[in-house]
């Protein structure tokens, strides 16, 4: 009996060590730095916002980020996550445009579309154009597409097709 107990203890020690090793390996393979976490879940609610609708929707998105999205692994394909994109779109262009832009973004956020975008070497996520680029009434002169990102994206698309 004692032998069995000691055997279990020995095995548990051994396995915990192995688990620790595995954990270290996982940590090294997937470095999740503090900055990255902050970048993905930064506060989006602008408390100086005077529009109740914008404030309510930003609050809902923040609620989703803290209590829903945090329970799962980061599954969004883009560096500016879809929730952040939506919050920013609502804050800048109002609820109607914001929801339409968010709907478009959700339809672009899937595994196969990832190959059409340049990747962030640090995080491995796809880099999308800034929110302004997807506004229907954008002026090309005031907010043109970022040149570097544009050429990188076009070259990637050409390569993939």
């Amino acid at each position: 009996m004692v032998n069995i107990i000691f055997g279990f203890i020995y095995l548990s020690l051994f396995s915990s060590g192995e688990a620790k090793d595995q954990l270290e390996f996982l940590k090294e393979a997937n470095p999740i730095t503090k900055e990255e976490t902050e970048e993905r879940f930064v506060s989006l609610v602008n408390f100086k916002e005077t529009s109740e609708i914008k404030l309510a929707f930003s609050g809902l998105i923040r609620f989703y980020q803290i209590y829903v999205s945090s329970q799962d692994v980061p599954s969004c394909n883009f560096t500016l996550t879809c929730s952040r994109f939506t919050a920013k779109a609502i804050q800048e262009y109002g609820a109607v445009h914001g929801f339409l832009m968010a709907s478009d973004r959700l339809q672009r956020c899937f595994g196969a579309s990832r190959k059409y975008y340049p990747r962030d070497p640090k995080t491995g996520y796809a880099i999308d154009y800034p929110v302004e680029a997807y506004y229907i009434g954008r002026s090309k002169e005031k907010s043109p597409l970022p040149e570097n990102l544009c050429s990188e994206k076009v070259n990637k698309c050409r390569f993939n097709r």
Binding site: S103, A133, E147
Partner: protein, 287 residues
């Protein structure tokens, strides 16, 4: 021991005498040496520091040396290579305004034209180049090329062709650029939106984003189908029907919105890529 002492004294004497021979100090702040150092920095491509040293040379010299125009020219080049185009233009202008008989005058005007072109002031660039070079009996081919490229960037194709010199060996490359710029592929935002309104996702397919189009079609299709199923089963009181109906509607509208934006982005991407190819040509042939 005595021998060692003699050797020691002799060594001391020898080192002292050698030091005495080489004790001539270098005057680092002498204008000639500042100039030499600036030239060295220029050769080493440390343009920001070189510009500073050339300015220090002008400050250190008692009176402006005879070749001040060439120093101004070097400073202007330093700023241009360092991508400080406004400063560069100012120095080129100094040569153009103050040294009318300088052998660098033509190059200075070319420099002004090129810098204006690099900061996207094509109108200004052409104004300077045309005012100086078109009055000359033999127009510089490079100036003509630059004027052509400015017209290309302003999408003035006919004027660009006017300045294209057939004798110029690069004319074929430039005419290819004109052809490419004239026939840039374009997508109509209205057509894109209409396509997506009829068949969800087809607008994105039209804008060269087939996978996005397919995903839009699937998401809109599935949510709408689920809404239909819900309403079919429980009528207008169906919760499932309303939830999927709202979702489907949002996806459908978002898909139309996204298709219109995709057409705009496609057109702008083509224009940006064309601009990059013209800038690449400028980089390769003028810098």
């Amino acid at each position: 021991m005595k021998y060692l002492k003699t050797l020691f004294v002799f060594t001391l004497f020898l080192t002292a005498s050698l030091k005495g021979e080489n004790s001539e100090e270098i005057e680092y702040f002498k204008p000639e040496n500042i100039r030499r150092f600036a030239d060295y920095l220029f050769e080493e491509k440390q343009y920001a520091r070189a510009a500073g040293e050339y300015q220090r040379f002008l400050f250190a010299a008692d009176s402006f040396p005879g070749n001040t125009d060439s120093i101004f020219f070097k400073i202007a080049l330093c700023y241009r290579f360092n991508e400080n185009y406004i400063y560069s233009i100012n120095y080129f202008k100094k040569i153009a305004n103050e040294y009318k008989h300088s052998f660098l005058l033509e190059e200075a005007y070319m420099g002004i034209g090129l810098c204006f072109s690099l900061i996207d002031s094509f109108e200004e660039s052409n104004k300077v180049l045309k005012a100086y070079f078109l009055n000359e009996p033999n127009v510089d081919t490079r100036a003509k090329q630059l004027i052509t490229l400015n017209h290309i960037q302003k999408k003035e194709w006919d004027q660009a062709r006017e300045f294209l010199n057939d004798a110029d060996p690069n004319s074929r490359q430039i005419s290819l650029l004109i052809g490419k710029g004239e026939n840039l592929p374009k997508k109509n935002r209205f057509a894109s939106g209409m396509f997506s309104a009829v068949i969800p996702g087809s607008g994105k397919y039209y804008c060269d984003r087939p996978m996005d189009g397919f995903h839009s079609f699937v998401t809109t299709g599935i949510t709408t189908w689920q809404a239909y199923e819900g309403f079919k089963e429980d009528g207008l009181h169906s919760v499932k029907g309303w939830i999927f109906g709202v979702l489907g509607g949002l996806f459908y509208l978002g898909n139309i919105y996204g298709s219109v934006v995709a057409a705009d982005i496609y057109n702008e991407e083509q224009e940006t890529m064309f601009k990059i190819s013209v800038k690449k040509y400028l980089d390769e042939n003028f810098k």
